[in-house]
Amino acid sequence: MHDTRLLRTIEAATLIGIGGFAGSNLRYLVARVIPGPGGTLAVNVVGSFVLGFVLYEAIYAGVLAERTRVVVATGFLSSLTTYSTFALQTTLLAEPVWMVANVLVTYCLGFAGVLAGRSLARRVDGGTGE
């Protein structure tokens, strides 16, 4: 019993670690191609959209396996997106108006991404859930 739990913990940690390794590298790659707040905005919006889809799919249909959700949602997507770099880049913008704009655009598009992921999950579900 105890051995099974330990093994499951190690399995989950390994999956989260692999997801984190891949997610952070994809974010780094995007930042090299689109430097500054633009690249951070791109990963945050795309990551919010895919996370919205994965987690609402779990709520509505539950087709994806728990293991898939761990590696994709907890490991990969949460590591692809970042709040700290978004906050730091906001403070380093030259004009206060750009700071406000960066926060508003990131928040609005991030929430819109989650909602878009939700409607995609509802479509996949075929309208039977919730």
Binding site: G17, G20, A22, N25, Y28, G75, T81, L88
Partner: protein, 121 residues
């Protein structure tokens, strides 16, 4: 020292950051309010501020800043949880979540800047 490929530095930091975020998420839980995400976002912003303002070398920035802090903090979970609060009729809590994450993270970066100035002069 053997020069390390940025992918290994970012990825190793990213794996550690993701594991630490999961650990905090499991141990810091609000009843309805997503406290775990707030905790990692504020703490991660503070450490990223320290690494940035202390003028750390490129490899440390990649490992700790881009990798560990970037993965420890999360925007996707933050936006999902905020939308979820609105869905559950907790619009005030959702607005508070957006504001507290922002103000907390910006304040943490400010504190990091001050701390570096005090220590390094």
């Amino acid at each position: 020292m053997i020069p390390l490929d940025p992918a290994y530095l970012v990825g190793t930091g990213g794996a550690l950051g993701a594991l630490c975020r999961t650990y905090v998420g499991r141990h810091v839980e609000g009843e309805t309010y997503p406290l775990g995400t707030l905790a990692v976002n504020v703490l991660g912003s503070f450490v990223l501020g320290l690494v940035t303002f202390a003028g750390a070398g490129e490899e440390i920035v990649l490992l700790l800043g881009t990798g560990a802090c970037g993965s420890f903090t999360t925007f996707s979970s933050f936006s999902f949880e905020t939308v979820r609060l609105v869905e559950q009729g907790e619009s005030a809590a959702a607005a508070a979540n957006g504001a507290v994450n922002l103000v907390g993270s910006l304040a943490a970066i400010g504190v990091a800047w001050l701390a570096v100035r005090i220590v390094l002069g």
